[in-house]
């Protein structure tokens, strides 16, 4: 396997494992939620994450790549850097920040010249769902702002944004050689 293909295999494995981890997390949160509109959306969110992991598994299979077993998911770093969220508002604030990071990362990936159509279609399908995730979470956070106060919710989002920025920079440093495949020919912002 040449260098580019190995990098492609690694990053697809990372996306796949990140979606699996997201599904497992939201499965637990959805199971704890009392009935209501947030429970419905959380359950759909959990189902989407699970489907996304399936899309990546399927795409890798079509490309002839075996998924790499990774020790850690990208999300693990959030709990270390941002602390454990302990109520639904905090979970949603963290997820809001994380989902935006995911959309940005996929947007970078889409800029790769001559991107394989299988990868392109997989990202397009996933990003549609991710946009809905950001939308429903923003709506839910507005309702939590009535309960906790807008200031408290915004502070929590800012807290996780700061954590996200440091995690992402660390991630880029740690995996620089592997990520060159994504960023070499794209504008990094």
């Amino acid at each position: 396997m040449d260098g580019i293909k190995e990098q492609e295999r690694w990053i697809m494995s990372l996306y796949r494992y990140s979606e699996i981890t997201g599904a497992m997390f939201f499965a637990k949160v959805a199971a704890c939620m009392p009935a209501g509109p947030i429970q419905v959306n959380l359950n759909k969110h959990f189902a989407d994450e699970s489907m996304h992991s399936w899309y990546w598994t399927q795409a890798m299979d079509e490309l002839g790549y075996k998924p790499i077993r990774l020790a850690n998911a990208y999300q693990d770093a959030y709990l270390d850097a941002g602390g454990l969220p302990v109520n639904i508002m905090e979970i949603l604030a963290l997820t809001n920040v994380f989902e935006k990071r995911v959309i940005k990362q996929y947007a970078h990936h889409m800029k790769i010249p001559n991107l394989n159509p299988i990868i392109k279609q997989t990202i397009e399908k996933i990003v549609e769902d991710e946009k809905w995730h950001v939308y429903w979470i923003n709506q839910a956070l507005k309702t939590y702002a009535q309960k906790y106060g807008e200031d408290k919710v915004n502070k929590k989002i800012q807290h996780y944004k700061a954590a996200d920025e440091s995690i992402y920079q660390q991630f880029l440093q740690e995996h620089k050689e592997r990520l060159d495949y994504v960023f070499e020919s794209t504008v990094f912002a």
Binding site: P34, V86, K156
Partner: protein, 80 residues
Amino acid sequence: MQPQDIKNQLAEFTKIPVERIDDDAAITDLVSDSFMLVEMLLLLQDHFAIELEQEDLEEVISVAQLVNLIDEKITAMQTA
């Protein structure tokens, strides 16, 4: 009675017999991973009709500290 009730809930969630849950044990030792810890905290809040925030848990390491925190939250709810 309240602290015992809280420990009973910890036992029910973790499936560890309550008499084997040591007050000095780290709460992270009761669960296999951080996702399970989040789940346990959400269920405790739901069961006792209280609300925890990230800041509340900053100093909480042991089972006894968690039980005290929840006990205080329940008392505050009852007296509010």
